[in-house]
Symmetry: D2
Subunit: 323 residues, 4 copies
């Protein structure tokens, strides 16, 4: 292996730059040439590929977003698209590729390897954390802290006005972001896709709280909750409790940005190193992750097909702590 | 004057606690007794009034929200409500009141003085800044910095995905928050109630930008813009530019919370002192403000009826700086 | 078990309040009465003990410091001191105690139990992380992020002026804070008590960097490094490299304060619950910790006598990543 | 005027990039070519000069430090050094120069104009704020907020341990940073070069506080205070009060870095525009500043020779508010 490439794909997440940096510098450390593919699989197809050296990644570890930019590629879903991408990689004599992204990215990588034989290794770059094969994904800790910081601000105003706030955080398929936000934000209720929290439960909790002279409430809603978005849920609750003084805040895309936390920088750096050294050791079609403080490589098949479950202990914690 | 009271009313804003703290300690400094009225005019009506001393406000200068809580009172809009409130103030032998809030608060204060003769003095506590009689209102600088911090995060992801972001900030009647967010956030367009920015202008700016290979855009929208909310505007623009990859973020209530900035703590402290010393000097029906670094007292009538205009220089700045 | 008490002792750390809150609410959840002992063991001796209910800990999860205050007690080191403390606990009919602190705290607790038979259980409250029995201690993640945020700011000025910065972080006996700061801060060198980094190594690294046109450097120094404090080290290096334009920053006590991160709030909450439920299950003389995402109870003897080693992988990471 | 240049010089300050950005884009807006001189006057002497376009300053408004780097130049203090610099500017056909810095920078600029006739205009880039001709200097608001954030963290631990903290902030010749830190940080004492606060006053304040059961204190010290550095002062106080449990924190260089606040971004942007438009209007040997919300141009002679006084109202505020 003499030349490798790195790219970011899918939704961006804080720490992607720290991971790119680690890939670039580890490659140089091991005497490899390293290229950056810009704009995800689209850039691979279009040959949007640049040579990188140590200074290309100077002063990037603390930056949100991705200096290689990201995109979702429809063309790469086609046989023709992948063939074009293979041509480009061959032109640059790329022997191995580090893909920083999520399951969409890894699915593409698997197909590409079957068809064109260039090995890919993955790093889990997504704020959602619902990726089998790593305790944390790169960007998750930052996203949670960003959301929590917003919730702290909301609590100031909720408390001053004695209101009920429904705060929607990211998580289309999982409550991984919602759960620590609820516990860390001192929320009374958390509504996530993995568990059923009915509108009646919300109503009961509010009514019981009012009885105990609790005057402000924070309810964290994962965007993919089975009762709908926060705006839907508040309407349903208001039907039963018209006296409720409620507000909705959707934290939104700020969760994707910002300077990565220490944990995310460290994780991204470790996994970037692990990807390059994994490629050098002949690994392919696997994602580097960190489980119980150890680096592990999980086959893309497993990251895609297996489900990472949220700790059931957490649900009980919200109940106890909001007593 | 022997006993004064202080309360917060209307939407809460960061720095209200710093102002309460200054009122309490200045009162004590001048040998006065001081009371806190909780929950705005409602608390005045219900006698929700507590004695305060120096330690009541210890460790509060850095806290968002208001330790006295806030509310909007319908009952105080009635003659009967105000009579009840007067009864309570007389029971506690309150000689003067510091009202931290906005024009709704001051309107009530004026009526109350006419009917019951207890003097009120105001401090401008609102994030909106559209209050005649002070260059800055308490909480405005914090709200702008909070919104700007969110916009910085959004730029990370906008830039990585080469998207157009429509970011809605607070400002029902004014662009005071939107304007520094646009300039400080490096936005390409700002849409505020005070000026007309048509959908066609937005379309032109985007198209011209794309021609110059600009790939990501941030458009700041004040919630009260004449073209509607950010969600409305994006729909109108998408009709003409279906290829646009756009996202909307509504920054929302986080702008009301959080620890106040240095400027807001200083301003709140100065105005709290000015309110108490104003009362001692016989002032009433005026708001203490700071204009050109000097403390000034403006009649409530003027704060309510006169309009504070946004600096027209700013609009030109957005145009120059996004070239 | 009917009545328990909780206290904080030793150096304060962010998340102590979140832990107190969890102890209080879990106790109430299980039908216990709960008391707070103020000012550590001194308060125990002096009967500075207050009844707590659910609202005593409202709105505290996000706050730095400790609402119960902390102190180091010389008197508790004596048999007489501990006898006075036992008298107080008996007066309040306390059946069990949750001690949030470090090894000094736990040593006292063990002696106390031997002499007076009241069971103590511990939670690891220290920013230093060098406590056997938990992957993270409460406050560690926050301290690291605070230091890292400071280092990011220093890098701005180091880079602008092309200077060498020696940044000292906390860690009298360990490099637990220094190491993630070095990796996450993009430092060129890290100097910690656990490993030997000679002045010659520092000189070589700087000279090699200059040869490769690197113009600014950040060197992270744990306060307990064998070469001395950052101010000492810079003097030694300057002797060999008088042309070096260097500055020293000691991050200091800001690392102890601030709002806890999500990870610390979660950890503190989990361990607070684990302490109360541990006491209810008859555990004593153990510290609740979290290892590989599971709650574990480690005997005080082990937390005191066993050493938690820093991951050797990290040293290699600094070398690779600063290439 | 067809070609202008911009450079940063002296200590870096947050907002310098926002100012460079405004200079570059305003130049382009007015049809000028624009060059960046790197490394201050040294770069001018060495021809370290680069062509800049609109994208050179993309995504920089939020960044601390200066993308053009800064330095102090001994060579420029000599006639020969300035002659070399003039040669370089003539080679690049530079007709006018925007200097972002402080009085050292402006003194050099005046001499240079006398000798070589190329007009310079200045923007006040320094965190210290002690520059006649502008209410605020670029970076001052950020530095104050950074220091205040650190003080908030210190208060957490001061309060928990009931300690006295001596916190040293920047300000060799002035208390501009110290004063708002003291007021906004809720400090009991502020020690600045402009006023005399004796060690006896400190001792009295502490003793009076203890009598009133105040248990923790924060004392803000400007580095240039007449009683010495914070470490000196604490030693003097400890002599009289050996029972005092005191700590020192020197906030240091973090005050120079970090993302600029809204106020600094706005100010830097306005002044950058004002510099370019000033040059176009024939102004020279003046600094663009903002006084009472209006842009004003002050002769370098005045910025150098006149003294900007700190508002005496502030000293009284610290006294009242720490009652």
């Amino acid at each position: 292996m003499k030349k490798i490439a790195v790219f970011t794909s899918g939704g961006d997440s804080p720490g992607m730059n720290a991971c790119i940096r680690a890939v670039v510098r580890t490659a140089i450390y091991h005497g490899l040439e390293v290229y950056g593919i810009r704009r995800g699989y689209n850039g691979m197809i279009n040959g949007d590929i640049i040579k990188m050296d140590s200074s290309s990644v100077s002063n990037t570890i603390q930056k949100g977003g991705t200096i290689l930019k990201s995109a979702r590629s429809k063309e790469f879903l086609t046989v023709e698209g992948r063939a074009k991408a293979a041509e480009q990689l061959k032109k640059f004599e790329i022997d191995g590729v580090v893909a920083i992204g999520g399951n969409g990215t890894f699915t593409g990588a698997m197909k590409f390897y079957e068809e064109h034989g260039i090995p890919f290794i993955g790093a889990p770059g997504t704020i959602d954390n619902d990726l089998y094969g790593s305790d944390h994904t790169i960007g998750y800790d930052t996203a949670v802290n960003t959301a929590l910081d917003a919730i702290d601000k909301i609590r100031d105003t909720a408390d001053s006005h004695e209101r009920v706030f429904f705060v929607e955080v990211m998580g289309r398929d999982s409550g991984y972001i919602a759960m620590p936000c609820a516990i860390g934000g001192g929320a009374e209720i958390v509504m996530i896709p993995e568990t059923t929290t009915t509108i009646d439960t919300v109503i009961d909790t509010l009514q019981n709280g009012w009885k105990r002279s609790k005057t402000s409430f924070i309810i964290i809603v994962a965007e993919g909750d089975e009762e709908g978005h926060a705006t839907d849920i508040v309407k349903k609750v208001e039907k039963a409790l018209p006296q409720m003084d409620a507000r909705v805040t959707v934290i939104g895309h700020i969760q994707r940005g910002g300077s990565p936390t220490a944990l995310d920088r460290l994780l991204a750096s470790e996994l970037g190193i692990a990807c390059v050294e994994g490629l050098l050791n002949g690994k392919k079609n696997v994602m580097a992750g960190k489980i119980n403080a150890k680096i592990v490589y999980t086959p893309f098949e497993d990251t895609i097909n297996k489900k990472k479950l949220i700790n059931p202990r957490f649900t009980r914690m919200v109940e106890i702590l909001s007593i």
